[in-house]
Symmetry: C2
Subunit: 630 residues, 2 copies
């Protein structure tokens, strides 16, 4: 499809926007009128700039409050339209978005709407221009695509067509199915925006909270599918009003917009293939791989921090299982968990360490077919990575995560470790930890949408709903990603406030970074008892928390004191699933570990207990600060 985006979706000056739009791969651009008004150059110059960049102007917008206006204003409004038609011809675009009248003094009388739109279509037609008529969700009298189509059909003028916007239909819970019955050539333009489901005034929602397809909660494939069925072959354009986007880095955000259209096309293709409709017009991606958990995690450290982290992990029951044949890299193992500590100078990990301090620099995930997985990632504009590979070393497919760390795609474990490492075969690591349950990331507040889209598109992950949690110094928002099989889980955490645990992690990382890693076990009390004995620094949980558990659940006193003694937190879901978990203190004030036991299919992350953990961490942090000051 022809892929387009409205200038209002991006931040910056008009030239900055146009350059970013072209660089991201879009074919066209909607010129939002204000961007033109504020630009210090003529419409002809804008036209030339677009031509030089290789993008077409798909649309000029908006023209407001026209049809059904107060009768004494009609002549003036037609003059206004002619004025804008002049402008369009200078811009070199033939299509204008006319949105339904939202003013209080407009009329909804059908014959007047019909006559006004006919007049406008005739005037446009005389100049070979076209009108795309759109129903605003808050239009005074016209607010559904059905009303628009009825008028367009009745007037039946070649210069008047339907303009569809996913937001205006889906925000009002409208049904797009019958769009398939509109002749495709009567649909002049399609605008796409996603949005989180918010219970608020639709105008406010529309103006501030739209987002790119895949970042919100609308069923956009369900909206686009009937449009494709109609035979529509025009542009698919992003029109996103979002407060964050107005300040986001222009190029990176334009690239996300382009990726979101590809993702939407893939999801729509899936929907239509089930319905046996021709889908040649839509982007075709290699199908996503199947996953089977995390193969290994690699930490960037230096020698001294590497030794320290190794000691921490050994207290948690990990054993030294191998040393790299040629590099200063070691392997720690326990159960199904492989952790690599990389202190090698002149390596990717070292560069990462230099930039971010001790941190997670790579995540290896098990895929069924790494070639196809990489193909898919690259098709979605992911950046493949090939590192320095020494003799005997295995070459792994990898793609860069949004923070520059690596995601290895591993489909063959044969020789995965023994090619590179001298393995100590007797080292079994039977400390009781079984596998990596989840790995949480701390992200800059404005990058969450971008990460969600990255994992949804390149890796076909799913995203849970957002959860908002109180830290003593602000709010923390969390959104968990997971592979469809749930074998890989990745909660993403952000905070807009400066002093929260998340923001502290971010400032130490100078960017995003791993926040904590949770290991699964089969017997939480045995596991924690062992960790306690080994000297693992566990996070102290206030007794008042257990007092409240006593009020909420029917626990006997002995069980409660055991929970309290071991600092184990507890949660129960509506289906009777249970979670037991403990946290360690943070390693070097950055990431920490969690030991976790799930029972009866508990699938969350203990959100009910996050506030008490954040408060305990704030206390421990201020204790650490006090100590550091002494």
């Amino acid at each position: 499809m022809q892929r387009s985006i409205a200038t209002v979706s991006l931040s910056g000056t008009l030239p900055e926007k146009l350059e970013a739009i072209a660089a991201a791969g879009f074919d066209g651009v909607e010129i939002f009128e204000n961007d033109l008004l504020y630009y210090d150059g003529s419409p002809r110059e804008i036209r030339q700039m677009c031509a030089d960049l290789g993008i077409v102007i798909t649309l000029f917008q908006p023209f407001r409050d026209f049809e059904g206006c107060r009768r004494d204003r009609l002549a003036r409004n037609l003059d206004r339209a002619e004025h804008k038609f002049d402008l369009m011809q200078e811009l070199g675009t033939d299509l204008v978005l006319v949105c339904s009248n939202a003013s209080a003094d407009s009329t909804g009388e059908h014959s007047i709407l019909r006559d006004d739109l006919t007049l406008l279509a005739e005037r446009a037609g005389r100049r070979s221009l076209r009108i795309g008529y759109e129903a605003l969700a808050w239009g005074r009298h016209v607010n559904t695509w059905q009303q628009v189509w009825n008028l367009v059909r009745e007037i039946d003028h070649p210069s008047l067509g339907v303009l569809l916007d996913s937001f205006h239909t889906l925000s009002l819970k409208g049904d797009p199915t019958a769009i398939a019955d509109i002749p495709g050539d009567k649909i002049f333009f399609v605008q796409m925006a996603d949005a989180p489901l918010l219970a608020m005034d639709v105008l406010e929602w529309s103006r501030h909270f739209r987002c790119f397809p895949g970042q919100g909660e609308f069923d956009l494939a369900g909206f686009l599918a009937p449009i494709i069925k109609s035979g529509y072959t025009g542009p698919l354009s992003l029109e996103v009003f979002n407060d964050g986007f107005r300040a986001a880095p222009t190029r990176a955000n334009a690239a996300d917009g382009f990726r979101s259209l590809l993702y939407l096309e893939e999801k729509t293709r899936e929907r239509l293939e089930q319905a046996a409709t021709s889908v040649d017009i839509l982007f075709e991606t290699p199908v996503a791989s199947e996953y089977d958990g995390i193969e290994f995690l690699e930490f960037a450290v230096d020698e001294s921090l590497g030794a320290k982290l190794s000691q921490w992990l050994q207290r948690l029951g990990f054993v030294n299982a191998g040393q790299h044949r040629s590099k200063n890299v070691s392997l720690l193992r326990q159960g199904d968990i492989n952790l690599i500590l990389n202190c090698e100078p002149y390596s990717f990990a070292h560069n990462f360490f230099e930039a971010h301090g001790p941190s997670l620099c790579a995540t290896a995930i098990r895929v069924k077919d790494s070639t196809k997985a990489l193909e898919r990632a690259v098709a979605y504009k992911g950046q493949p990575y090939r590192g320095l590979v020494g003799p005997n070393e295995l070459e792994l497919a990898a793609v860069r995560a949004p923070d520059g760390s690596l995601i290895y795609l591993v489909d063959d474990r044969d020789g995965l470790y023994d090619t590179d490492f001298y393995l100590q075969s007797e080292a079994s690591g039977e400390g009781g930890l079984l596998r990596i349950d989840h790995m949480a990331m701390a992200l800059p507040a404005d990058s969450l949408d971008s990460w969600v889209l990255f994992y949804k598109s390149l890796l076909d992950f799913e995203a849970d709903d957002e959860v908002v949690l109180p830290d003593p110094y602000g709010l923390v928002k969390s959104r968990a990603l997971r592979s469809r099989c749930s074998s890989i889980r990745l909660p993403l955490n952000i905070s807009e406030n400066r002093n929260t645990a998340i923001s502290h992690a971010l400032s130490s990382y100078r960017g995003s970074g791993v926040h904590h890693i949770a290991f699964d076990c089969a017997d939480i009390f045995a596991q924690v008892s062992r960790a306690k004995e080994a000297g693992v620094p566990l996070l102290d949980i206030p007794l008042n928390y257990y007092d409240d558990l006593a009020a909420r659940f029917d626990f006997d006193d002995q069980f409660l004191s055991e929970l309290a003694y071991y600092n184990v937190l507890y949660d129960r879901d509506a289906q009777g699933g249970e979670l037991f978990h403990v946290y360690t203190e943070p390693f070097e004030g950055r990431f920490f570990f969690e030991i976790i036991q799930r029972k009866n299919g508990y699938s969350g992350y203990g959100a009910a207990n996050v506030a008490v953990r954040l408060a305990a961490m704030a206390k421990s942090r201020s204790g650490a600060v006090r100590q550091a000051k002494l």
Copy 2:
């Protein structure tokens, strides 16, 4: 009244909150359960901490989803209540907030609600505890104070009373008038929160957007007045859920909370005095002074920047009217405008310059009685200022603004300048600028509410509604303060995004600072023509803007080209009021000047033109950056 605040209204750990609450002057505190759960100390220790700080625990909250619960849960809920009663006795408070049941499976059957609440009241009574029953706006069956009072009246138990929360009533547009008919001793507690009027889900609105009285748009005096009439003499407590407050500096925010209660009491007193009700219980403030515009503005500069700014101002038609008798301070004058440039070392201005660079360090406003005005400011916990005063120098009453700059209160102009300055009597400054129309400030995003409350309470200013405007690199929010006579106008601007004009000003000031100063004139074209000739750097406005004016208004071409030639922006309000205005480029990348002409009672600030100004400034800024790089 006894003044109280809920711990949930502030950021920080429980001890940080309690210390800030005591320091702000509150008499009591509501302990929000989560703050207790997350605190690593027993309820008895909290009780002791409050006692040491001299505050009482006015309430423990909340106890949820009790009355009308599923019948199989009633026994368990009563156990839960007894558990919390134990806790309250350890805390040393006798009152618990029970909020109306919001769960989907609760019943609204009157007899069941009555019986459940009777049971709870009896259990509380046996332990000399009391239940304050509150209607949540989103309560499943009980959501008005009238329903609560009906139940309380019918049950008629000494341990059961009404708990009122302004948000829950006013968010649903409830009428508080008849609260006056409840016997005062049946109202156990009153919670106050203000909020902006938002069209959104009431639960979300309540949990994230409440604010302190005077910062929002509720008629809180109208809510409190009938409560006072009822004879209620208990605590007045702030319960504010606000995302920003969760991260705000604890002590400063607690101080704002206290100030907001005083302000509310004053406004309620005014309301009640009209109604001839006894109001002894409410805070009594000296009435606000009358105002008569801005007397002078004082800039903190050094010698070289002072000379430069003086040159700028002279181009704008100001004349050097005087030199300070003992200090390196000069006076520039034009029309009714007095500007002081202060380069004196070892002065308040110099310290201000060291901290903020070239900036506005003082604003003198004309008041009727400076002694009373200062008394009022001090009663509202304003910080009075007395500076170094040399021989012959006039002493002026002053109070510190939230950013540390000074607000002089001037009631006597006799000798105001000739005591301190060698005046050049012939210097008349007839350049055409008449007076200071308004002075806009750039503020850190999270300080807007605090500034609004400062001006409303200390100076009795009014605040206009918030306006949101697009800068090319993010959104800018503006809220204008004005004296009741409108002779002093002060738009406050914030931006949450890093690259907007506002944020650039803030980072150059390292804090808040003046953003622009607008001067009134009688003939915009003559004025701008004179400025152009004198070499004032005016901000270039794109021609596309004037093209759009042509489409919107019925201007003849000559008038339009005149507007465009002089870079004059135009706005017209619904009543036919007209605004003509031009902007200068910023002085040292910080503040700029505006020349303005209002016609036919135009009372706004040209919001319709702010976006084009912001875009032009962004362009000029990036031009300046390019130049600096060359």
